[in-house]
C-alpha cells in the first residue's frame, strides 16, 4: 500500500486557502512587540514629560562646572515667552557670566556656544578648539584700521609667529643696565666674598614670605593678604615679581657716597638723594668741625687754578662741596652704573630715565611660571647666562615652547586657549548672581 503519489494538486489541497489571514504565533509576537516597545518608549517620554523633566533631551553630559545644573535646563535654555524655541542663547550665559568683547574691531562676534560647546561632557568649557580662534585669525581682517597683528595664525606648532618681543628688531626697553652674564658667573664678587648667583636670587614669583639672599633685610612688600590658598588658584605665582633694587640689588650694589658714612643714599629720585645728601652732610659737619680745614690734595692739576693750600670752608661751602663730590660720584658712577642719567644743561640734577622694566612681556598671552616650576630656569631662558647686553630680550622663543607644547596626548597643550584668552578681561564687569539654592537644584 503506497502513499498517494505527490502531485501539485494534492500538495496544494493540503493547504487551507485562508491560512494567511489567520493569526500565527510568530506574527502575533512580532505585532505585540511592535506595539509594546514603542509604547514603552512613549511611556518613558511621557513619564519625564509628566515630571516636567526635560533631562532626557539633554544633548550630552554637562561640563564639570555646570554639572549641578543638569536637571535645570531653563538655567540656560530660556524659552521666549509664547515661543516654542528655547535655544540656549548668549542671554542665558549672561545671567552668570560676563563675556567682555574681544576686540572692538572684530568683524563678527560669535555666540557663546560657537566656541564653548556645552553638553559634550568636557571638564572645562574654556577648552576651545583652535578653530574658534583661527576662524578669524587665520585670515585676519578688522572692521576699522588695518591690524598690526599677524594675519595668518593657524595653529601653534608651525603656524604661530615668533613672539613679538623676540622678533628681529625688538629690544628690551628697560633702561637699567644689566649684564646677566656677569651676575651669573662663578666667583662673582659678593658682599661677603665670591658668590654664585642663581636666577631666583632676583626673579621670583610674588610670594609674600620669600627672603632674598641679596635683598635688603627690611624690604617688604606684597600688600596683598593672601591666605592659605592652593597654588593653582594663586595668580601671584604666575608672573615673576618685579625686580626691585631693594630686594634684589641692594646687597651688592650699595649706594655709598662718602667714606664718612657707612650707609648709602636712599634709592630714590635725584632730588630726594640731593636732599638726603644735604641733610646728611649738614648734620655731620657741626659734629666734625675739623673737616672744615681742607688741604688741597693735589695742586698741580692741569688747567685748574691752583687752589690755596689750606682752606677753611664755611659749613655751607663744605656741605656744598661734599654734596657736589658725592653727587659727582653718584651721578657719574654709582647710579650711572645701572641707570641711564640724562644731564640737561642748566639743570642741577640729572633726569633718570624711567627704568621701564617690563613686568609682563606677553601682553596678549598668559604665562604661569608656577606651572613650569619643574624646569630649570636656564632651560627656557637659555640666553640669560650669556647675555651681556641690557637690550637682550631673554624671553624664550616660540621654539622653546614648542618643545613641550606640541599638542596631543603625550605633550603639553598646544591649543590657543592655553596661552590666550578671547575675552578682554580688562573690561570685565561683575555679574550679580540671581539663583537661589533651591532653584539651582530643582529640575527644570
Amino acid at each position: 500500500m503506497a502513499r498517494a503519489k505527490l502531485t501539485t494538486k494534492n500538495l496544494a489541497q493540503r493547504i487551507d486557502l485562508e491560512y494567511f489571514k489567520h493569526p500565527h504565533p510568530l506574527r502575533r509576537l512580532r505585532f505585540i512587540l511592535s506595539v509594546a516597545i514603542p509604547v514603552i518608549a512613549l511611556l518613558w517620554l511621557g513619564w519625564h514629560a509628566l515630571a516636567r523633566n526635560d533631562r532626557i533631551y539633554s544633548g550630552g553630559r554637562m561640563s564639570a562646572s555646570h554639572a549641578v545644573l543638569t536637571a535645570r535646563c531653563s538655567a540656560c535654555h530660556v524659552a521666549q515667552v509664547g515661543a516654542f524655541s528655547a535655544r540656549a542663547s548668549d542671554q542665558g550665559c549672561g545671567t552668570c557670566h560676563d563675556a567682555p568683547l574681544h576686540h572692538a574691531n572684530q568683524i563678527f562676534t560669535p555666540t557663546c556656544a560657537a566656541c564653548h560647546a556645552e553638553h559634550r561632557g568636557h571638564p572645562r568649557l574654556a577648552v576651545t578648539a583652535d578653530v574658534s580662534c583661527t576662524q578669524c585669525h587665520a585670515d585676519l581682517h578688522t572692521t576699522g584700521a588695518a591690524t598690526r597683528f599677524t594675519t595668518d595664525i593657524t595653529r601653534f606648532i608651525g603656524g604661530h609667529p615668533e613672539f613679538a618681543a623676540l622678533r628681529p628688531g625688538s629690544v628690551d626697553p628697560g633702561t637699567i643696565k644689566l649684564n646677566h652674564a656677569i651676575h651669573l658667573k662663578r666667583n662673582l664678587r659678593g658682599p661677603n666674598g665670591p658668590v654664585q648667583m642663581n636666577c631666583d636670587d632676583c626673579h621670583r614669583t610674588a610670594k609674600p614670605e620669600s627672603r632674598f639672599r641679596f635683598g635688603s633685610g627690611d624690604a617688604h612688600d606684597a600688600p596683598v593678604n593672601l591666605q592659605a590658598i592652593p597654588p593653582s588658584m594663586d595668580p601671584s605665582r604666575a608672573y615673576m615679581a618685579p625686580v626691585t633694587y631693594a630686594r634684589h640689588c641692594a646687597a651688592c650694589h650699595g649706594l655709598q657716597f662718602d667714606p664718612r658714612f657707612q650707609e648709602g643714599v636712599p634709592h630714590d629720585t635725584p632730588d630726594v638723594i640731593h636732599a638726603f645728601l644735604l641733610q646728611k652732610f649738614q648734620q655731620y659737619i657741626p659734629n666734625h668741625p675739623a673737616e672744615l680745614r681742607v688741604t688741597a690734595p693735589n695742586r698741580n692739576l692741569p688747567h685748574q687754578p691752583i687752589p690755596p693750600a689750606v682752606r677753611v670752608l664755611t659749613e655751607q661751602q663744605w656741605v656744598a662741596l661734599r654734596v657736589a663730590e658725592s653727587e659727582e660720584l653718584l651721578w657719574r658712577k654709582t647710579c650711572a652704573q645701572c641707570h641711564a642719567l640724562k644731564f640737561v644743561a642748566n639743570a642741577p640734577l640729572p633726569a633718570v630715565a624711567k627704568s621701564n622694566i617690563t613686568q609682563r612681556w606677553f601682553q596678549h598671552a598668559v604665562f604661569n611660571h608656577d606651572t613650569h616650576k619643574l624646569l630649570k630656569c636656564v632651560e627656557c631662558h637659555s640666553g640669560a647666562p650669556t647675555s651681556q647686553e641690557t637690550a637682550d630680550v631673554l624671553l624664550p622663543g616660540i621654539q622653546t615652547c614648542e618643545k613641550c607644547h606640541r599638542g596631543g596626548r603625550e605633550a603639553a597643550e598646544s591649543r590657543c586657549f592655553e596661552c590666550h584668552t578671547y575675552h578682554d578681561w580688562k573690561h570685565e564687569k561683575s555679574v550679580k548672581g540671581t539663583f537661589t539654592l533651591s532653584a539651582s537644584l530643582r529640575s527644570n
Binding site: R3, R14, Y57, C73, R120, T128
Partner: protein, 294 residues
C-alpha cells in the same frame, strides 16, 4: 533580498552619497569651532537626511500592507530600504559627530546601531538560508500550515497502521481535512504485526504528535534509519511497504521540524528589527522636536 547585479545602481549611488557626506563631514568637523554638532546647519542637514532615510526605510512596512497599490515595485522599495537604511547609520553618525549625547540621543544611537546591525544580519540570513532550506527541506510546505500538515501526516500514519494492526483507538482521532488518502486495505492482524503496532504506539506516534519531543531517537535521521531497519528485520516482507511509508512519514516530519527551526531563524531577527525600528522612529520624532526646541 539577494544582492546581485540589479543592486549596482544603488550601491554606486550609496557609495557616492557616503563619500560626499564623509568629505563634507570632515571639512565641517575641522572647521567648526565647537566641533561637529547636531544643531549646526550641516549637522541638521545630516540629521534630516538620515531621518529621511530612516523614514523611508520604515515605510516599507506600510508599503507591504498595501501590496497591490501601484506605488512602485516591491523590489524597488526593498532595495531602497536596504541601501537607504544602511546609509542612515553613517549619516546619523555624522549628524551626532560620532557622539552619543544625552539620554535620549544615546538611546537613539544604540537603537539605530542595533536596528542596522540586525538588518545586516537579516540580509545575510536572507542570502544564506533560502538555498539551505531549498536543499535540506525538499518536502517543505507553507510554514503557517505546518501544524495542519503534521496533523494530516499523523492521520495518514494512523490510517496506515490501523489497516495493519486493527483499530487502535487513538485519542484525537478527529478527521483532518485534506488528508492525502491512501488506499486502505485491511489485513488480518497477526502476531507478526505486533512489533509494528508497538513501535508505532510507543515511539512513532508520540514523535509525530508532540512538537517538542526532541529526545526522540526518530528525530535524528541516522538513528531513525537504524530503527526502521531493525523493524524491517522483525517484520515479514509484506509489511515492508508499510514500514517504508512510515519511514517516509518520519522523514517528512523531521523535515517539517527542520523547516520550523529554519523559518524561526530566517524570520526571528525581525522580532528585534521591527519593534526597535518603530521605537527608533518614534523617539527620533521626539528628538527632532525637542532638539529643535532646545
Amino acid at each position: 533580498m539577494r544582492l546581485d547585479r540589479t543592486h549596482r545602481t544603488w550601491l554606486i549611488a550609496s557609495l557616492i552619497i557616503f563619500g560626499v557626506s564623509a568629505v563634507i563631514y570632515v571639512v565641517y568637523a575641522e572647521s567648526s569651532p565647537a566641533g561637529p554638532s547636531g544643531g549646526s546647519a550641516i549637522g541638521l542637514a545630516f540629521g534630516i537626511a538620515g531621518s529621511l532615510c530612516m523614514i523611508f526605510a520604515g515605510l516599507l512596512a506600510a508599503r507591504k500592507k498595501v501590496p497591490v497599490w501601484r506605488l512602485g515595485r516591491a523590489q524597488a522599495w526593498m532595495r531602497g530600504h536596504l541601501w537607504l537604511g544602511l546609509l542612515s547609520l553613517p549619516l546619523i553618525l555624522f549628524h551626532g559627530g560620532f557622539r552619543f549625547g544625552g539620554p535620549l540621543t544615546s538611546v537613539l544611537m544604540v537603537l539605530l546601531i542595533v536596528v542596522v546591525v540586525s538588518g545586516l544580519f537579516g540580509a545575510a540570513l536572507q542570502h544564506y538560508m533560502p538555498p539551505v532550506m531549498t536543499t535540506r527541506i525538499p518536502m517543505e510546505t507553507i510554514f503557517e500550515q505546518i501544524d495542519r500538515v503534521r496533523a494530516q501526516l499523523l492521520a495518514e500514519a494512523d490510517e496506515m497502521v490501523e489497516a495493519v494492526c486493527g483499530p487502535l483507538n487513538f485519542q484525537n482521532a478527529t478527521p483532518v481535512p485534506g488528508v492525502r488518502s491512501s488506499v486502505a486495505t485491511a489485513t488480518v492482524v497477526t502476531t507478526d504485526t505486533i512489533p509494528l503496532c508497538n513501535f508505532y504506539s510507543r515511539e512513532m506516534r508520540p514523535f509525530l504528535q508532540h512538537e517538542r519531543a526532541q529526545n526522540a531517537a526518530l528525530s535524528i535521521k541516522a538513528k531513525a534509519a537504524g530503527i526502521f531497519e531493525g523493524l524491517r528485520t522483525l517484520l515479514p516482507a509484506e509489511l515492508h511497504g508499510t514500514v517504508k511509508n512510515l519511514e517516509d512519514i518520519c522523514e517528512e516530519e523531521r523535515q517539517l521540524r527542520r523547516q520550523m527551526r529554519y523559518h524561526h531563524w530566517l524570520h526571528g531577527w525581525l522580532m528585534l528589527h521591527v519593534p526597535l525600528s518603530l521605537a527608533l522612529l518614534l523617539l527620533g520624532c521626539a528628538h527632532a522636536i525637542m532638539a529643535l526646541r532646545y
